[in-house]
Amino acid sequence: MALLEVQNLKKYFATQKAVDDVSLKIEKGQIFGLLGPNGAGKTTLIRMITGIFYPDSGSIIFDGKSFDPTKDASKIGYMPEERGLYKKMKIGEQTLYLAQLKGLTKREAVTKINQWFDKFEMSTWWNKKVEDLSKGMQQKLQFVTTVLHNPKLIILDEPFSGLDPVNTNLIKDEIFELAKNGATVIFSTHRMEQVEEICDHIVLVNKGQKVLDGTIKQVKQDFKENLFRISFSQPVSDELPNADLFSIKKQEDNLLIIQRNENRSNNEILQYLISQGLGIESFNEILPSLNDIFIRQVEGTPLARRFQNLN
């Protein structure tokens, strides 16, 4: 069952179609990657899902019901890309305050804060001020304030920026843990290797519109170019006739990268190579990386979206 379903969402600003007719569906327990170049409309989309902006048109169904920002705010945890906390406020008080604003009682909040602070080894921070923390430590604190109230939907915008590898892993493990316990995570980033590692399902938006939607496996299959890497036990002679089975993309000692021609099968290629008397050590399909797909999809988009007049 889908936790969040967005239908034909539109938000136009004075000079831009920030989100232009986007529909998507996020299943419960999924880690969902929301990708797109700068200015594609990701933040506007997220702001509508979190109730910060009202959509011009379209509908948001959250947890089976029409989305109601005042009621559902407590079920969502949002860590915006532009993050910040009250610098002069004590960390414990601040976390308590933000948790209470999300609807926790003071007692619940204190228990939860203690649990999380213990887990992240932050217990000694309670009476420190935010301005005393390093950027990475602030980031950890920000993550805690986002997930403290056990939200059903967690939206993380670039959660790892500014974190060292140790803390990145710590947060990453928490994200998996939260998803395993039933939370749904929307993960927005430009770092494609993180998306491949973490997400089940991705959506790519560009110029306010959805251009890609599917599981990572599916997307890769959709974008594969029938490239194969074959390694041989001996160097390949230069004059390998490529017949009408494949074309050679790269040849290097005993390594060959080929592109299979349409309507040909792997077996035909293998049979041909064996018939040529070559010893095959490995035969692998090269799937495109998300990075390649991303670049291919948004290629030709101007680096900054032009301002257009919609009137």
Binding site: R47, I52, A73, Y78, M79, P80, G84, L85, K87, L101
Partner: protein, 424 residues
């Protein structure tokens, strides 16, 4: 509703626990009292005591009479000299005199000299002290020459008519006391608007530049955020205000029981405040003060909040946008000055009705009496207009706030902000 209470609580506690709050609360009354007594002290000590030589050709300005005057008032000294005017003209400064004055020989009642000139080599400024002394001596001479004895003199001196204005509609109002109350309450509202208006603006800017606005807005409505901040800071202002009042009473009681000679000025002042409270319609004044304090506060606070949400971290941007608003508050103080002298004049009447100035100006008029000085229709219109404007401004500011708080980049103009407000 629970969320707005949480916001109010945070905004209040964060500010009240600050060292700067405690310091300003303690120092402001001290500074204010210090300023009053300081200026009084300076004006007394700072002026030069004129030493004037008196050359009496009439023989009537005797040493005894001059000594008597010098003993009564030491702000200037007269010294009787029996010297040639020409030589004195050259040497009076060498002898330590600021100037000299010559009393003509034919000075009699029937032939009063038109003007007595103090000759000096520099500008002496005010010589009213010397004039009073010479006049007192002249009076003595006149009484003596006319044969008026002490008893008759007493009668003459006591027979002055005292003139005071009385409003037939409102006999209780005493113009002097009303002016003081109007001045004090108008200025209190003015200070609070200026100090706390900018506090609200800075608070909103902190949320925006600290990038916490977006996190907050995902939990609460921007309007709740703005109102929570305004109400929280209003409570801080009220706390400070009540502490100040408490201090006045503590100082009053301390001076009353201590009765140290040096403190008599203070207790006089405070005692004066107490008489004020007994001779005016206290419930009305207090009630109206509370209304105009809160009304004015909420009205201006929402304007400052809107400005704070629109600008970025640059203080200069904030100042240039808030300058017109601050100017209006300062302008209101000038109208207050006029209204204190002429509480029924057109400037006072309209200033106390138009909501931009009414919180300050109306407080200068109300102590003179309702409905004597301020007819019911004016008070009613002023109250209704202030409430209506406050609701309108809060709505307007809320719209600007909602857009501005998440908007980074260049400083918007007033025109753009109005556009934000008018957008659906």
């Amino acid at each position: 509703m629970k969320k707005i209470l949480l916001i109010i609580q945070r905004e209040y506690l964060v500010r009240v626990r600050k060292k700067s709050f405690i310091i300003t609360t303690l120092l402001f009354p001290l500074l204010y009292v210090g300023l009053i007594f300081g200026t009084a002290y300076m004006s007394e000590k700072g002026t030069t005591r004129l030493k004037i030589a008196v050359v009496d050709s009439s023989g009537k300005f005797t040493q005894t009479r001059i000594d008597k005057e010098n003993a009564m008032d030491n702000s200037s000294t007269l010294v009787l000299l029996n010297e040639n005017v020409d030589s004195l003209n050259k040497h009076f400064e060498d002898k330590g005199f600021d100037g000299y004055v010559v009393i003509p020989s034919n000075t009699v009642i029937e032939n009063r000299p038109d003007q007595i000139v103090i000759k000096s080599n520099r500008t002496l400024g005010l010589v009213s002290g010397v004039q009073t002394k010479l006049n007192n001596i002249w009076n003595e001479i006149k009484y003596e020459e006319l044969g008026i004895d002490m008893e008759k003199r007493q009668l003459l001196n006591d027979s002055k008519l005292s003139v005071q204005a009385e409003n037939m509609q409102d006999k209780g109002a005493n113009a002097d006391i009303a002016a003081v109350i109007g001045y004090v309450s108008g200025f209190l509202i003015y200070f609070i608007l200026i100090i706390y208006g900018s506090q609200i603006m800075m608070g909103v800017m902190e949320e925006k530049t600290g990038r916490i606005a977006e996190i907050m807005v995902s939990s609460v409505k921007p309007f709740q955020m703005m109102m929570g901040k305004i109400i929280g800071i209003a409570l801080v202002a009220l706390t400070q205000f009540f502490l100040w009042i408490a201090f006045i009473f503590i100082i009053y009681n301390a001076t009353k029981s201590g009765s140290v000679a040096g403190n008599s000025n203070v207790s006089q002042l405070v005692g004066g405040v107490q008489t004020v409270f007994t001779s005016v319609n206290v419930p009305l004044v207090v009630g109206m003060f509370a209304f105009y304090f809160l009304g004015g506060f909420f009205f201006y606070a929402s304007l400052y909040a809107a400005i704070g949400s629109a600008v970025n971290e640059d203080m200069r941007e904030a100042q240039s946008l808030s300058f017109p608003v601050t100017m209006i508050v300062i302008f209101a103080i000038f109208i207050l000055m006029v209204a204190m002298k002429d509480p029924t004049g057109p400037l006072a009447v309209w200033g106390s009705i138009i909501p931009f100035t009414s919180p300050i100006v109306m407080m200068a008029r109300i102590p003179y009496g309702v409905p004597g000085t301020v007819p019911y229709w004016q008070l009613g219109l002023s109250i209704v207009l202030l409430i209506a404007t406050f609701i309108l401004t809060a709505w307007f500011a809320g719209k600007i706030y909602r857009t501005g708080i998440l908007m980074y980049g260049k400083k918007p103009t007033w025109k753009e902000m109005i556009k934000w407000a008018l957008r659906k």
